[in-house]
Symmetry: C2
C-alpha cells in the first residue's frame, strides 16, 4: 500500500456535507420549492380510544384557501390493512390520542391549519388502556377492537434475529392485549439458577422516548406530467417507500419515483408516515402536496420508542462464572405496530457474556398509545440497563470488581446469542481493557463524596444486506460514486474515503451522489448499523471494478500488463516507475472524446453476516443528595469499530450515542395522563440534552478489522448508545448506594431512592 | 431464439413517449416550474457588421421588473474565445444582424421583453459581406476583424471524416474570408475526365435553412443550495454541455448538473446556445434564470444550415463506367463557427459509387451572417443534389437508364469514400432494386404530360462512439434501462425493445430512464445517426450483463448450470422445461428483501466502426407549366436500416426525412436582404411542409444486419433526407426538361428555367 493510499481511510475528515449544513443551505425535504404547492395539515384525535361517529368537514371546506378535506374513506389508497402506511387516517376506530383522523389540504400552511381546526370529529368513547401494568391484566379491556391484518416488513430490517423462537408458557401474561410473544431458551436456566452461589434479580422500567430529530417528518408528492408521482421525502427507506406507495396507489412500480432528501436526524423513526398521505392527496388533487409535520404532530402522531419492563434474574458461581439468566421482557407496542422490538431485546438480554443457560420470554402488548417505532438500537438500551445493572449487583454480592466479573465471562466469536445465532468476532476484551486501564476507572476510589464511576458494556447486532453501487470516472479524472441511500449518519463520506482508498486518488477527488429510485443502484434502507457495512461493501466492489477497468485501459496505453500497474495519487503507473504513468484526467478526457469506453464500475454486494460492534462506557457522575439531581462529570466510551474509515465520523457517532444515552438516563420520557393525553409533547417540556449539557466525552477506538466489512469497517451507529444508561445507573449506585431501576433517573426518582436507601 | 424473444424487436410499436406527447403533458425544458424564476430576453444587433461604441442600459434597468442587463463584459464567463459558447454576446464587434448583444433578465417574460427594447446599442457600421459570391472575391472586405481563437469539438461528433486531407491549390479561391479548406484527391482526375466518353458538369446552389424544430431553444439554470448549478436544457449533448459550462463558469465538473429535457425537435441544432447565457445569469444573480428563445430569436440568432455552392464535373466511359469527379465545394460559414461542414460534404460528393479518380476541394467562407450549425446529415443533401442531378444528365448523354447507370457503379464494402476511408457493408443494390422494381419507376413512361419520376440515392456515414448504459431488475420483475442521452428520435424506445429481446421479457416490462449527468452512465451526444447504434451497443452489453446475472442467480436457485437456462416471457427456466422456471418477479422480490444481490447490468461500449446507411428515393411530381409550381404526387423511399428494431420508428425517421427533403427541394430558404437582414424569419414567411403538404410516402425497409450494430441495427436518422432534393430535381427534369441547379425549386425558379429551356 502506497503512502497516498494509506491516507484515504483512517484519517479524520469533515463530512462531505458539513460545509453546506453549517452554511445553512442544505435543502431538506421541506425546503424544495414547488410551484402550485398545496400544504396539508392533520386533524388529530382527542380521544385515546373511541368510535368515530361522524366527521363534519363542511365548515373547513368553506374556509379560505382550503382545497380538500380527506378522511380514511376518500383517500385513494388501496390497502385494507391497519398498518400506519395502509391506514394513515383512523377509520371507524380511534386508537390513540393524537391519531390522524383527517387531512386538510390548502393553499398555504396557515389555511390548512385554520381548516384543520374547523373539522368536527364526533366520537363515542371506548374504554382506553394507556398503562402497561393495566394492559397486561386478564380483565383489561382490549386496546383495539379490530384485529391487525397485516405486518409491514420494514421493521425486520433493523436486526437479523434468529428464528421465531419457541412458544411462551401459557398464562405468564394472560391479557387480551398480547399482540406478540417469543421465547428463547437454552439449557435448564431454573436449575442453573437454583444451583448458583449468587443470584440477583430486578424489575427494570424504561419509558416511551421520542426520537427528537431536529427535522420533523416531511413528504412532498408531486404528480408528474406524464403520470406518476415524484415523492421527495425525509425517509430512511426510499426503495421500500417506492414499493409500498406503488402498492397503495395501485400503480406500477415505475410510476413512483422516490427521492430521499438529506435527513435532519432520523434515528430509526422515518419511513412511510407522511408519505402515503401526501401521495394520496397529490393523486386525488393533481397538484403537489406537502405534509410537513409540525413539532406537535411529530410528537403526538409518529412512532416513538416504546416503553418496556424487564424482569431479569441472573446467577453466578462463587468464583464469578455466570450461570444462567431468566428474563421476562414486556414492551408496550401502543395501538398500531408493524414489526417486533421484542425479539431483538430478547436476543440481546444476555449482553456480551457467555451463559450456561437462559430462558427469555418477550411480549408485545397493545395499548391505546401511539404505535411504536425504531429508535437507535431498538430494544437494546432497556436490555443493557437491566443486565448491566444486575451485573454490578452480582459483583457486589461476590465481592468482585465489576470489571473483573465482566472480563471473566466475555463471549467470543462463535458463542451463541440468546436467540441461538453466533456472535461474530468482537472487540469486547479490548474495549474493557481500555476502560479498566483508564484513570477514570483506576482512580475512582479517590473521588469525593457523592461522586462515582459506572461501567457498562453494550452491543448491537449490526446487519448485513444486499446493496448496489456505481463508481464512474469523470471527464476531469475525478470519481463519482452513486448509491440510492438516504445519508443518515455520514455514510456517504465514508464511501468517498473507501473509493479513494481503492482507486488511489485523493479523497477530495471523489464525489458521492444519491440518486432517486428511478436511476439509483438498488440500495437498502439505512438503519440497523448497516449502511457503511452493507452499502460500503458495494462501494468497495464498484471501486474495485472501476480500478480494474482503469488498469486495463491504461495497460493498453502503456503496453503493460494490468497486474503490473497501480494507481497512485490519480496516476496509473507501473509499480516503481511513477514517471511513466498516465493520469486519470487523461483517461477521462479520452472517455469524453469517445476514444475509450466509459469507466463505470459496478458493485453488487450480497448480504454478509453482520459484524457486531461492542461499546463500553465509563460514566463519572455526581449526585446531589439534597435534590437527587445527577450531574454527568465526565465520560469515556470505547468502541470496537472495525477499521475506522474516518475516525472523526466514528467519534461523531460515539459522541451522539453518549448524548442520547444521557437523554435515556436522565431526561427523556414521553408522558401521558390517565386519559392517554401526551402531557409533554414539545421541546419546552420534553427534555433532551443539548450541547452545553454534555460532559467532556473521551472516545477510544478499538480497531479490529471486520472480515466481511468494507476495508474492515463495522456498522457502529447503534452500539454506542446501548449501555450508556446502565453506566449512569451503575455510577449513581457507586456514588450514592441508590440503585435506580427505572429510566429516566430524574431528580425525583433518585431522591426517592436515596430516601428509601 | 424463442417465440417471445422474436417478438421484442422487428415489431412496430408506438414510441414509449407517444402517449404523453399526444396528451400534451410532456414537460419540455420551458415547462418545468421553478419558484423565483427569472426570465431572460436577448437584445439582438441590427447591423450585419459594426463596431460597438456603447451599450446604454440605464433606461432598461429602470423598467418595472427588470433585474439586470448583462453585456459581454459583465457576464461571468471565463472563455476568451470567439465561439458561440465562449462569447454568447457580441464583444466589440457585431458580426451579423441578429447577433445577441445584451441579455435582459426580469421577473417576467414580458418585463424582460420590455426591458430589451429599452437597451440602446450605439454602433459604428463596418463593411458587411452578406453574399457568398462577393465574400470569395479577392478584394472582399473581411467579414470579421477578430481572428477566431478556438474551435469547439462538438461538431466533430457529427461524422468521422478521414484525416485532414491535403492542401488546396493556391488561389482557387483568393479571399480574405477563407476560414477553412480541405482537399481529397485520388488518382488523376483531370486525365480520367479528359479521357472519358462523356462528361457533364454543373454549379449547384443550396440555401441557408432553418432547422425548424417546433420547440425553440431553451435553457433554465438554477443555482443549487449547496452551490453548483442545475441546467435543464433542450440539448443534444448533456455531458458536453456540462464540461463546457463548468469550464466557462470556472467550476469543477461536479458543480454543474445537466438534465437533458425531452426535445421538441432538434435535427442537429441544439447545443450550448442558450445554456451559457442562462448559466452565467443564474450564477450572477443567484436565482434560477430561463432563456426560452422566441421564434424570432431562434430564427435570427441560432445556427441554421449554411448555404453552399458546388461546382461538380463527372465523367464516364461509353459503357457507363464512372471515371472521375472533380469538385469545388464552397460553404458559407457565416460569422461564427466552430466546426467543419465542408469535410463531410467533400467525403460524400462521390455518393454511393466507385470512381477511378477524384479531386475534391472544399472551402469554408466567412460572411456576416449567423454562424452555421448542423442540420440532419450536414453537407450531404447539397452533395447529393449535385451528384445525383449530374448522374441523370450523364445517363441521358449515354442514353442509359439512370437506374442502370447507378446500378453499374455501386460502391461496396471496402471501397473508399472520397476521404479515403472504407465504406462498411451497404444495402445500396437492394434499395436500388426495390425502387427499380416499383411500379412508380417501371410505369413512369405512362405518366401524363408534366409529370415525372426522379430517382436518387443518398448515404450518410453513421457514427460510432463510446457509450455507457445500465440495466436493472426491479422489485416487480420489470427492467429499467438507464442512459444519459437526450432522446431526439425515439432511440429510447429502441433501447426498450433491445433489452426486452435480450432479456426475454415483454417490451412493456422495460422502462427507459434518462438520468442527469450526475448519475447517468456516460453517454455521447445524440446526432450523426449514432444514438441507436452506439448507445444501443451499450444497452445490448448492459442487458446481456443483467441476463448473465439473472441466469446465475436462478441457476443457484434451480440447482442448474446457467448455460442450461433461458429467459422466456419473464421466466428463467431450463431449456425445454418451462414448468420448472423461476419468475423474474420472484427474483426481484428476493433482491428487494436483501436475500439476493441487486441485478444491475452495465454496458460499456467502445466506439465501433460506423455502419453507413443508404436511402434511395422515387419522387413522383407534377409541374404546372404556367406557374412553375411543383406538386409532389407520390414518394417511395427504400432504406438500408440494418435490423429494424422497431419498424414503425424506422418508417417514422424515413417519413420525416422525406418531409424535410421536400422542404429542401421546394420551400425552405432563409433569405437576407442586401444589408444582411433576415427577411423571412417567421413561419409566416419561411415555409416548411406541413402534414397536409406531404404526398403518400411508401417506405421500404432493407434489412441487412450491421455486424457491429446492436442486434444488427444501423443509425438511420440522416440517410433518409440526403438524396430527396435530388430526386425531386430529377423528377422535375423528367417531367419538364427543366434542370434546376438551385434549391429550393420555387415556382419562380422553375418557371424561369422552363422559360429558358
Amino acid at each position: 500500500m502506497s503512502a497516498v493510499e494509506e491516507q484515504a481511510i483512517g484519517v479524520s475528515r469533515p463530512r462531505l456535507d458539513s460545509e453546506e449544513k453549517v452554511r445553512g443551505v442544505t435543502r431538506y425535504a421541506a425546503d424544495v420549492p414547488h410551484l402550485d404547492l398545496l400544504h396539508a395539515r392533520l386533524v388529530l384525535a382527542h380521544d385515546a380510544h373511541a368510535r368515530v361517529l361522524s366527521i363534519d368537514r363542511d365548515e373547513a371546506l368553506r374556509a379560505p384557501g382550503v382545497i380538500a378535506v380527506f378522511t380514511a374513506d376518500d383517500l385513494p389508497l388501496a390497502g385494507n390493512g391497519d398498518s400506519r402506511a395502509e391506514a394513515p387516517l383512523a377509520r371507524d376506530e380511534i386508537l390513540f390520542a393524537g391519531q390522524p383522523v383527517a387531512l386538510v389540504v390548502a393553499e398555504s400552511e396557515g389555511a390548512a391549519e385554520d381548516g384543520a381546526e374547523l373539522v368536527v370529529v364526533e366520537t363515542e368513547s371506548l374504554p382506553a388502556v394507556v398503562d402497561l401494568g393495566y394492559a397486561i391484566k386478564p380483565d383489561a379491556p382490549r386496546a383495539r377492537m379490530h384485529e391487525e391484518t397485516e405486518e409491514s416488513d420494514i421493521g425486520s430490517e433493523h436486526a437479523d434475529v434468529g428464528g421465531s423462537g419457541e412458544e411462551v408458557p401459557a398464562n405468564e401474561i394472560d391479557s387480551p392485549n398480547v399482540a406478540f410473544s417469543v421465547r428463547y431458551r437454552h439449557g435448564d436456566a431454573a436449575a442453573e439458577l437454583a444451583a448458583s452461589a449468587a443470584v440477583v434479580a430486578g424489575r427494570f422500567r424504561t419509558p416511551w422516548i421520542y426520537q427528537a430529530y431536529l427535522e420533523t417528518q416531511v413528504a412532498t408528492a408531486a404528480p408528474q406530467p406524464g403520470g406518476g408521482l415524484l415523492v421527495e421525502t425525509s425517509t430512511q427507506a426510499p426503495f421500500q417507500t417506492r414499493s409500498q406507495l406503488a402498492g397503495l396507489l395501485g400503480q406500477p412500480l415505475d410510476r413512483v419515483r422516490v427521492m430521499p432528501m438529506p435527513l435532519g436526524g432520523s434515528f430509526g423513526g422515518k419511513w412511510m408516515l407522511p408519505d402515503p398521505l401526501a401521495a394520496a392527496a397529490a393523486v386525488a388533487l393533481g397538484r403537489p402536496v406537502r405534509l410537513s409535520l409540525t413539532r406537535s404532530e411529530d410528537f403526538l402522531a409518529t412512532n416513538p420508542n416504546p416503553a418496556g419492563e424487564i424482569e431479569l434474574r441472573i446467577g453466578a458461581t462463587a468464583t464469578g462464572e455466570l450461570t444462567a439468566l431468566d428474563a421476562k421482557i414486556v414492551f408496550e407496542r401502543g395501538a398500531i405496530h408493524g414489526w417486533g422490538i421484542e425479539a431483538p431485546a430478547a436476543a440481546l438480554i444476555g449482553g456480551v457474556y457467555r451463559w450456561h443457560a437462559h430462558d427469555v420470554r418477550a411480549y408485545g402488548i397493545e395499548t391505546n398509545r401511539v404505535g411504536f417505532g425504531a429508535y437507535r438500537a431498538p430494544g437494546a438500551p432497556p436490555a443493557a440497563f437491566a443486565l448491566e445493572s444486575l451485573l454490578d449487583e452480582l459483583a457486589a454480592h461476590l465481592r468482585m470488581d465489576p470489571a473483573d466479573l465482566r472480563a471473566k465471562n466475555l463471549a467470543g466469536e462463535g458463542d451463541l446469542r440468546a436467540d441461538g445465532k453466533p456472535w461474530s468476532a468482537l472487540g469486547t476484551a479490548e474495549c474493557l481493557e481500555l476502560l479498566r486501564d483508564h484513570p477514570m476507572w483506576r482512580e475512582r476510589a479517590t473521588l469525593p463524596e457523592n461522586e462515582g464511576v459506572g461501567l457498562a458494556l453494550g452491543i448491537w447486532f449490526g446487519a448485513g444486506d444486499a446493496a448496489g453501487a456505481g463508481c464512474r470516472l469523470e471527464d476531469d479524472g475525478s470519481i463519482t460514486v452513486v448509491t440510492g441511500i438516504a445519508d443518515m449518519t455520514g455514510a456517504t463520506s465514508a464511501f468517498a474515503a473507501i473509493a479513494a482508498q481503492i482507486l488511489g486518488v485523493p479523497v477530495d477527488r471523489v464525489r458521492v451522489v444519491t440518486a432517486d429510485t428511478s436511476t439509483a443502484p438498488r440500495s437498502p434502507m439505512v438503519g440497523g448499523s448497516k449502511t457503511t457495512f452493507a452499502v460500503g461493501r458495494a462501494v468497495v466492489a464498484a471501486a474495485e471494478d472501476a480500478k480494474a477497468q482503469l488498469l486495463e485501459l491504461a495497460a493498453a496505453e502503456l503496453e503493460a500488463d494490468p497486474a503490473d500497474l497501480e494507481i497512485v495519487d490519480g496516476v496509473v503507473q507501473p509499480r516503481g516507475a511513477p514517471s511513466q504513468g498516465v493520469e486519470l484526467v487523461a483517461l477521462g478526457q479520452r472517455v469524453a472524446s469517445g476514444s475509450l469506453p466509459p469507466v463505470d464500475g459496478r458493485g453488487r454486494a450480497s448480504a454478509a453476516p453482520p459484524s457486531s460492534s461492542v461499546a463500553g462506557h465509563l460514566a463519572h457522575i455526581r449526585v446531589d443528595p439534597d435534590t437527587g439531581n445527577v450531574e454527568i462529570v465526565g465520560w469515556v466510551i470505547a468502541q470496537d469499530v472495525g477499521t475506522a474509515i474516518n475516525p472523526a465520523l466514528c467519534e461523531g457517532q460515539m459522541r451522539g450515542g453518549v448524548a442520547q444515552a444521557i437523554g435515556w438516563a436522565l431526561h427523556e420520557e414521553l408522558i401521558v395522563d390517565a386519559d392517554g393525553q401526551v402531557v409533554n409533547g414539545s421541546f419546552v417540556s420534553y427534555l433532551i440534552p443539548g450541547a452545553t449539557d454534555l460532559p467532556p466525552i473521551e472516545t477510544l477506538l478499538v480497531e479490529l478489522p471486520a472480515p466481511d466489512g468494507p476495508l474492515g469497517a463495522k456498522g457502529i451507529g447503534e452500539a454506542c448508545v446501548v449501555a450508556g444508561p446502565a453506566a449512569v445507573a451503575n455510577a449513581v449506585a457507586a456514588a450514592s448506594g441508590a440503585r435506580l431501576r427505572e429510566l429516566p433517573m430524574t431528580p425525583e426518582r433518585v431522591w426517592a431512592e436515596l430516601a428509601a436507601t
